[in-house]
Amino acid sequence: MAATTPPPARSWYKRNEIALTPWLFLLPAMLFFAVYVIIPIGQSVAISFYQWDGLGEKTFVGTANYERLLGIGDQKMDRKFEISFWNNLKWLVLYLLAVPAGLFIALFLNQTVRGIRIYKSLFFFPFVISQVVVGLVFSWFYLPREGLLNAMLAIFGAGPVNILSDPSTATYGIIAAGLWPQTAYCMILYLTGLNAVDPEQIEAARLDGAKGRKMLWYIILPQLKPATFIAFVVTIIGALRSFDLISVMTNGGPFGSTRVLSFYMFEEALSEFGFRMGYGSAIAVILFLIMLGFIAYFLYAMWREEREAR
């Protein structure tokens, strides 16, 4: 240790390493994400103020697309939009049945008997299968003459029903098909949630005399709140995004009764008689606004958690 050594000179990067590194690491992901997600959202919003067939020139029409959709002014609300919107609501509400159903199955399977792991994974199976295949499978299941559903109903002397051809039942039929994988998803979330339930609390509750349903309601469910929250989020998002099943099972029919916003949007923009990009974008924007409510709520919940965490 001689006399005071001056601090050695360092490169600019070295001096700012900690400040720079995160940006370097973020760059590729942000680039991709901006180009393919963030900017397109803006573009979509912009397109929704135009009339455009996707080929030629765009014509600026202001809010005309929205006015037509929502029936502002002396026109009626776009009937297809209206139907799609209500169907979306049905999806939202009924799809949420996956949450309690998943919980029920999870409770049923949360045991330690031999082979239970295999059972659990088989129950989870529908979730990994593509929705296209699920849709096919269910449309055969529903077939009016040959379908397994009617074969089973016949055993009980009921039926036959033609679920996908009846406009009053078709949407429900599709939702039921959608519930199948979604329930499996919720089931897994709950199974892992149940795993994390504090066993000491269960014991405390046993000492407190809580049993069965009371135990479930007062002790288990509150502890499953994170699982429930996530199950809700993914189910709602799944409901609003529903496209594959409708496309495969009914293609929106019969006479448009199973359309939902996402499907209608696709139809307007890209389907056989479509190519009304502006109008389609306007539908997408409305769907986006609906979803934004849920996204905002989700972000808020996360933000609160972040606050508490560090």
């Binding site: 067939d53 996707g54 080929l55 030629g56 009626k76 009937r79 077939l143 009016p144 003459r145 033609n162 996908l164 051809s165 406009p167 293609n251 029919g253 019969p254 006479f255 448009g256 890209l270 389907s271 056989e272 008689f273 479509g274 190519f275 009304r276």
Partner: protein, 395 residues
């Protein structure tokens, strides 16, 4: 000259049903034999799917030849400049024998493609069952209904139909409307010149309703594609099928022989000039094609008289050739159809609902037609909706 062609030729075809698929493959092979140096790449896509995909296909990196339809259906692509103007081929006489049909491919005086086949629509029925029930081919609507009554009484449906993809209902409307109000009125409606709420349109629907109410159609038709509905006819659960002639190939393939199937013209309703549906299928060159020379040669090839004769024969497409110099196959259906179109379609020949009506009108319209077939009571509501759409599109 021709044999000097080389390079690539990319064809995207929607001839995806088994019989047309074989024809398309043979066309490619035949062309390949003529031009061994041309590297042909044939892609066959689902016919229903192609209706949505063609847009994309034309936009980016397009193939050299595509399938499409004549008349209104090609309008958007022509006006967007996506189809190549091939008026010169017609003008140069490169396409002999097509003069009479070039109208369907003409927009603003220019031609944008070539037809390769057309086919009559009409009533295909189970001859054996007619015999069994003692029925004869009807000539009037009353007879038609009377026949149907007997068929229904025998525990069968009169008509097979699968409206899952909507357009099949369009065929029924075309015929009922052309028979009720005549060809000219039908085309006025198609051009948006007549409101849907017109009493004459209502009359068409009233006629239609008679069949619906008597249980003339197979149940649950909205769940089936036309191919799936064909099973009803093959199994004898339905007796007749209003279809294009391409259905014959499928019926034969399904196991029916010619003694079991027969054909009659859609019967007369009112005393008006009759029109017939006879859609034309076409080939086009996308304007972004990279091998236009080869593509032109291919169009020339498919429309040549011999090829037309061959591919439209009963054992191939089973449809009518376009080229006036080619011959109609000795097939009972083709001959009848050819005869019908030439002699008794006095009013005119229509392309088909989804080709005569503008795209948006057709989509809303066919959906309404399907709805009407399932819930006829909604008629007022449906017509109002169609009218609304008409006003928006045409005014």
């Amino acid at each position: 000259d021709e044999s000097q062609l080389s390079g690539e030729l990319k064809i995207t075809s929607d001839m995806s049903n088994p019989a047309p698929r074989a024809v398309m493959e043979s066309l490619a092979a035949g062309f390949g034999e003529l031009h061994p140096d041309v590297d042909i790449e044939l892609t066959i896509v689902d016919r229903e799917a192609w209706k949505t995909q063609i847009r994309n296909a034309l936009g980016a990196n397009p193939p050299d030849v595509v399938n499409w339809y004549a008349a209104n259906r090609m309008g958007p692509y022509v006006s967007a400049g996506l189809f190549e103007d091939i008026s010169d081929m017609y003008a140069n006489g490169d396409l002999p024998g097509l003069e009479s049909v070039k109208g369907a491919l003409t927009i603003d005086g220019k031609q944008y493609g070539v037809p390769y086949t057309y086919y009559q629509w009409g009533m295909y029925y189970r001859e054996d069952i007619f015999k069994e029930l003692g029925l004869t081919e009807p000539e009037t609507f009353e007879q038609e209904l009377a026949n149907c009554e007997k068929i229904v009484a025998s525990g069968r449906a009169c008509y097979a139909i699968g409206t899952k993809f909507l357009w099949t209902a369009g065929g029924w409307f075309d015929y009922l409307n052309m028979r009720t109000n005549g060809f000219d009125f039908h085309m006025e409606l198609a051009r948006g010149e007549v409101p849907w709420t017109d009493p004459r349109v209502r009359e068409t629907f009233a006629n239609w309703r008679k069949i619906i109410d008597m249980g003339g159609y197979v149940a649950d038709h909205q769940s089936y594609s036309w191919q799936e509905a064909l099973n009803f006819m093959i199994e004898g659960d339905a007796v007749a099928y209003l279809m294009g002639n391409f259905a014959v190939a499928a019926m034969r393939e399904g196991g029916l022989d010619d003694s079991q199937i027969d054909f009659y013209q859609f019967p007369k309703i009112a005393d008006v000039p009759q029109g017939e549906d006879a859609p034309t299928d076409t080939f086009h060159i996308p304007s972004g094609a990279k091998n236009k020379e080869n593509a032109r040669a291919f169009l020339q090839y498919v429309t040549s008289a011999d090829v037309q004769t061959k591919i439209n024969a009963g054992d191939a497409l089973g449809q009518l050739p376009i080229n006036s110099e080619s011959s109609v196959d000795k097939d009972e259906f083709l001959e009848q159809g050819f005869e019908m179109l030439n002699t008794s379609a006095k009013g005119g020949v229509a392309q088909f609902f989804d080709r005569d009506f503008s795209a948006e009108m057709a989509s809303v319209g066919m959906e309404g037609l399907q709805e009407f077939m399932v819930v006829p009571d909604n008629l007022d509501d449906i017509l109002e909706r169609l009218e609304e759409t008409r006003q928006r599109i045409y005014e």
